[in-house]
Amino acid sequence: MKRLYVVSLIVALAAIAIAGNARSISTDIPAAPAIGATIVDFTLPDTDGKDHALNSLKGKNGTVLIFIAVQCPISNAYNERMEKLAQDYKARGISLVGINANSTEPAADVKKHAAQNNLTFPILKDNGNKIADSLGATRTPETYFLDANNKLVYHGRIDNSRDLSQVNSSELRDALEATLAGKPVEKTTANAFGCAIKRAG
């Protein structure tokens, strides 16, 4: 009995020593590409399992990628705003593509959620969060606006508040309007609170 106690103590101390040597800063998620970087074409399945390449979905004037969620209340607070963005800019040559990278939300749930919330833009399922990793995406909702050449021109929030009545700066819309007008985007990044993307593993 006593020997068992000593052995477990040694094992516990060894575990602490090993854990203690772990790197002190824990940031497992790769950094996002810099503004101006070209986003390489990728392929992901939609909620029916059909593959789509980014280049087959992109608009002639650019593409907005939005990491979205089924269960995140912040992402859900933006459902109507995201759909409106998709509608407003479709005719102006910018397409909007949703990406669900939450390992906890299967394609069937994503499909059902889109139908219930009248989201008509394409939604891709990033199984294994490969694209979320390559884009350094960490939360929902998080947006990436790529110009006609797939160059990243804006990365960040849709606007400043999940409460529509409190919105007084709409950085994503500003970036889209600037690009359509052939002007440089003034504010290329902006942060907001959101739900962490639930990565696999």
Partner: protein
């Protein structure tokens, strides 16, 4: 058989403790509101969870002041919200860490990103359920970006987010998403044992 006999005193003590706590609860409920307030006001019987479940609203400047260190204690900060499932999931582990390390000199504050409307309802209710005793604040800002950037340039605002500062106010550990308890404990151990 002998083992069973040895257990008897513990079983008896346990039974008596259960009955007495049950009686206390019944008597507290039976008291008038004023008598109950007086009872709660007495320090020895006042449940700490009730007192600490008060949440104070702060602005970005007040948040920055809270993060400052004067060289005496390391600081653990958790950004969370009641609407955030992984935040709720990890909270019991944070309460345990607070309980274990506070006496060893670790300061711990939790900063809620809930709506101001929930400051007297959903937020304290959750904290009471968690038996949380650390100071909790609610960050009330119209534009979250300056606050997020002032904490860490590498933070997008994803919740939960956890930062550990040494007593000089330098970030020595950070994690976005649900905490990895062993990793966080190891980082805290380093700080409280090195007395830096």
């Amino acid at each position: 058989m002998t083992a069973r006999v040895r257990l008897i005193p513990f079983v008896v003590v346990g039974f008596v403790a259960c009955i007495s706590s049950l009686l206390q609860t019944v008597s507290a409920v039976a008291q008038s509101p004023s008598a109950r307030t007086a009872h709660l006001g007495r320090k020895s019987h006042a449940p700490a969870v009730k007192r600490s479940a008060r949440v104070r609203a702060i602005n970005a400047g007040e948040m920055q002041d809270l993060l400052k260190r004067d060289g005496s204690h390391p600081l653990l900060v958790n950004y969370w919200a009641t609407w955030c499932d992984p935040c709720r999931d990890e909270f019991p582990d944070l309460v345990k860490i607070d309980k274990q390390y506070r006496a060893k000199g670790l300061d711990f504050i939790a900063i809620s990103l809930d709506d101001l409307a929930d400051i007297n309802s959903a937020v304290p209710k959750f904290l009471r359920e968690m038996k949380a005793k650390m100071p909790v604040y609610l960050l009330n800002v119209a534009d979250p970006e300056p606050a997020i950037n002032s904490v860490d340039r590498g933070w997008s605002g994803a919740l939960p987010a956890t930062f550990l500062y040494n007593n000089k106010g330098e970030v020595v550990y950070k994690h976005f998403g649900r905490i990895k308890v062993d990793e966080l404990r190891a980082a805290i151990e380093k700080l409280v044992s090195s007395k830096q």
